[in-house]
Amino acid sequence: MSKHDHDEDINRRDFLGKFAVGSLVGAGSMAFIGVIQLPLPKVFNEAPSVFKIGFPSDFQVNTYKTIPEKNVFVLRDNTGFKALSAVCTHLGCIVSETDWGFTCPCHGSRFDKQGAVTGGPAPKALEWLRVSLAPDGQLMVDLNRKVNAADALAV
């Protein structure tokens, strides 16, 4: 072995010491990456996102009907049935119906009858949700399927 090679070498104690610290840092960061996934839920222990809201005959034409405990307004107009989410797009409070449309109690966001923002801090319009017909003839709303304001279920 030449003298030059010796200079490049590190002695055994330094090697073991650096290896120990390096393995600690490496194992620690790997463990962190692994463990940070633990609190990220893979299963949501929540109410189903698809639910039945009643028979078409339960709804009057051109009125918004509130579905209890579901935070959804259902509108029946001459094109059919539509569902509008009542969850404010600002910070998740539940909007209530007013003369001009909808208003949020938490920070005063305002929406028109079509859910479009007319005032306040809300960043986007209220969401229209897909309405479909269940085999038993009841209407169903799917909270996870967003649709355009014009899409309606004709029955």
Partner: protein, 520 residues
């Protein structure tokens, strides 16, 4: 031999009381000499975090006002009352609310303990904030104490998180909606990623929200997580950092005090110095001085024949002062708890928000800001303010006028000017937005990204930043510019909090008084 053994045993038994006492207390009692008094501090695990001697100036009540200690004592009170509340509390959505009601109506002393816990939590937030204000205005973050200022910032954030997590536990309407709002603030980076079209690739908002509440809506998972954070994770983090915070004060030479602290004490005590220059009667040691070789700390060393040393033994006077702060803190809390009951609203109802749904007072300024833009008010501005506060010791490195309120009369003048500027500006500006509205009232189709960046909150921050730079240019002093900026934000915090507390009603509309609120 057997006799001797029995005799020794009998003697040991007779002196059992004394030998037990000596094994616990390994110092002379009562302590008479300074050396024995220092042993009381050194030999006690809990007391040895402080130095054996303290400067007389540190005992002046108007300098620290005991705020840091009061914060710590409030934390101890919270630990004790919190453990007592845990005896009956179950963190499940089905039981939590009933448990809290039982604690209020059935459990012996339960209501009183919950009241103390509630007011001590509010008190701790207030004390920590005021402590930060004191440390800032006396310039106590200087001379190597920058890291301790950072620890203080971390402790402020942990204190706020403890309050926030504790807020959910009663599972009432206020709890549910305050936490729903908070969780959606965590999700608000989506406002930005949506505007930039990035959400489908990288949904930071959803990640933060799901890791915080373990779902898409506040439910059992959120309650479990908040309970875990509230009773385990955050208190352990807090107590660890408080230990380091205290230890650093000791290593930095005790509480901050002005350079002329000795002259102040000598003048008060009528000490006559032999020669005029003796007023400077100390010399600097680079390594610091030793107290009984227990620790090397940064400080000045007394010099012979140059005027009397103004430090006294911590035992017993310093301990008396600490106990006095504790008793005062406890007295205020028990009195408040006797006269005012902790509120409990109806059980959480995920369909009907409170109207108005108001957070606790210290978050109402924030709530006013999020009513302009969720992302900017909830994350952008608070993060800017926290980073700005954290950087103060590293951007303002002027080391004169340490330990002096407002760094002297010039600083006091700047502080008053800044108070007037920020109050007048912010009140006029808020009146303008209430009366005339903001961008969306004039241009209904304005893109959201413009509102995120140009809203009353960000305009306020820019105005304050401009004021501080203006002062920096005219005074040429980073300390005075820091005073200007800090005063502006302090006034901003107070004004926004008052706005959110007293002048916002249903639908977050402006009202002069709650008596004008419409029926809702």
């Amino acid at each position: 031999m057997q006799n001797d053994g029995l005799k020794t045993f009998a003697e040991n038994t007779k002196s059992l009381k004394r030998s037990l006492k000596e094994s616990v207390r390994r110092y002379q009692w009562p302590p008479n000499s300074d050396r024995e008094k220092s042993q009381v501090i050194f030999q006690n695990f809990f007391l040895h975090i402080q130095s054996a001697r303290i400067h007389k100036f540190s005992l002046k009540p108007w300098y620290t006002m005991g705020l840091g200690l009061a914060s710590f004592f409030l934390f101890l009170i919270l630990c004790v009352t919190g453990v007592l509340l845990m005896v009956y509390y179950n963190p499940t959505t089905g039981l939590a609310y009933d448990n809290v009601r039982d604690i209020g109506f059935v459990v012996a002393a339960g209501k009183y303990m919950r009241n103390i816990h509630r007011w001590a939590a509010h008190g701790m937030v207030a004390a920590v904030l005021l402590h930060m204000v004191r440390v800032f205005y006396t310039g106590s973050y200087k001379r190597g104490r920058g890291f301790n200022w950072l620890l203080g910032m971390a402790l402020l954030v942990i204190t706020l998180m403890l309050s926030y997590t504790g807020y959910l536990l009663p599972w009432d309407q206020l709890a549910y909606w305050a936490v729903t709002i908070g969780a959606n603030i965590a999700a608000s980076p989506r406002e930005l990623t949506d505007a930039l079209g990035l959400t489908q690739y990288f949904d930071l908002g959803a990640f933060q929200k799901q890791i915080l509440i373990g779902g898409n809506t506040v439910g059992q998972e959120a309650l479990t997580r908040f309970y875990l954070l509230h009773v385990m994770v955050l208190p352990i983090m807090l107590i660890t950092l408080v230990g380091v915070h205290f230890w650093r004060i000791r290593k930095d030479g005790g509480l901050s005090r002005p350079d002329n602290a000795d002259e102040i004490i000598w003048r008060e005590e009528g000490v006559e110095l032999k020669n005029g220059s003796g007023a400077k009667g100390q010399f600097n040691l680079n390594t610091g001085k030793t107290y009984g070789l227990m620790a090397l700390v940064r400080d000045k060393s007394p010099q012979l024949d140059k005027g009397p040393d103004n430090t006294i033994m911590t035992w017993p006077v310093g301990i008396w002062a600490e106990v006095a702060v504790f008793m005062l803190t406890l007295a205020v809390m028990t009195t408040l708890a006797y006269f005012f009951d902790a509120p409990l609203k109806e059980i959480a109802n995920p369909s009907i928000p409170e109207n108005p749904a108001k957070a606790p007072w210290y978050f109402l300024g924030l709530q006013e800001l999020v009513s302009y833009s969720a992302f900017m008010g909830g994350i952008g501005i608070p993060a800017t303010v926290l980073v700005g506060l954290a950087l103060i010791p590293f951007l303002d490195r002027e080391n004169n006028q340490f330990g002096v309120w407002f760094s002297g009369s010039e600083g006091k003048r700047i502080a008053i000017n800044s108070l007037i500027f920020s109050s007048v500006f912010l009140i006029a500006f808020l009146a303008f937005t209430v009366k005339v509205g903001w961008l969306r009232s004039w241009f209904p189709d304005i893109p959201q990204i413009v509102i995120v960046f140009v809203n009353p909150g960000s305009v306020m921050v820019l105005a304050f930043a401009w004021w501080s730079l203006h002062n920096l240019r005219f005074t040429g002093s980073t300390r005075l510019a820091a005073i200007a900026l800090f005063t502006c934000f302090l006034a901003g915090f107070v004004i926004l909090t008052i706005m959110g507390t007293y002048f916002r009603g249903p639908n977050w509309d402006f009202f002069w008084s709650p008596s004008q609120w419409p029926l809702h």
